[in-house]
Symmetry: C2
Subunit: 142 residues, 2 copies
């Protein structure tokens, strides 16, 4: 079994490093960002359009993978918990999961918001938001 | 950059093959299933408890990875679309995303439902459901 991820594209963002990146579960600091999809898989974007909400799976390329417990949201005063009960970027398989809206799409270039990801983050997958969430998502993000 | 997934565990399910597996976006046929987490990473489960909803990322181990367009939900009468605008298991990086509830947890063994995944499916990651969705999820799944 080959478990190798081949990034389908990369994120361009004004968030340049982990220190200035917002902590997960904290909406402040999420920005508009650009996803550039590799030409060899850009045909897979057919059917996505402006206004759509997508689920974006990324690879936390700067994360350590041997961490099993963390202080939630990096707060030392909170007791350590298993990484699978947190959304920490430090985890055995450092995949991120983000819900963003497509604000513009042109060829293989998607502008999305709000996205909390470091500039240069590899993109693993894009999925449409499940139908059952449609029409409810705006409320959920408020 | 090493993009290799190391499965953190595997799914045991009464769904034995792709032919009898339900199509995505179709709730019928999702079942109660068991996730067994590998002993070397089971410490990462600390903090998860019965009743919690989790986001489960899996590896569609039986999927082709060179498919860029599909008929949505396998329905030949629907025009083909790019895989990133569908939740087809055929995609360049065959990761699945499932929202399930923990109905029992004992050591490294999680019983969850409802889960549409084939027996033997490798598990890539487990994340808690984001706080902003809490309390709204039951409605979303009805």
């Amino acid at each position: 079994m080959d478990y190798t991820i081949n990034p389908i594209g990369y994120i361009s963002s004004s968030i340049k490093d982990r220190e200035t990146a917002p902590k997960m579960e904290d909406e402040n600091g999420a920005v508009r960002a650009v996803i550039t999809i590799n030409a060899d898989v850009s045909e897979g974007l057919d059917g996505l359009k402006e206004g759509d909400w997508i689920e974006l799976i990324t690879w936390f390329h700067e994360s350590k993978r041997d961490t099993l417990k963390v202080h939630p949201r990096g707060k030392k005063e909170l007791p350590q918990r298993g990484v699978f009960s947190t959304r920490s970027p430090f985890r055995p398989n450092p995949v991120g999961l983000h819900r963003v809206q497509i604000v513009a799409i042109e060829g293989n270039r998607l502008e999305v918001e709000p996205l909390e990801a470091i500039d240069g983050t590899p993109v693993v997958d894009i999925k449409p938001f499940p139908k059952k969430f449609k029409g409810k998502l705006k409320d959920l993000n408020e």
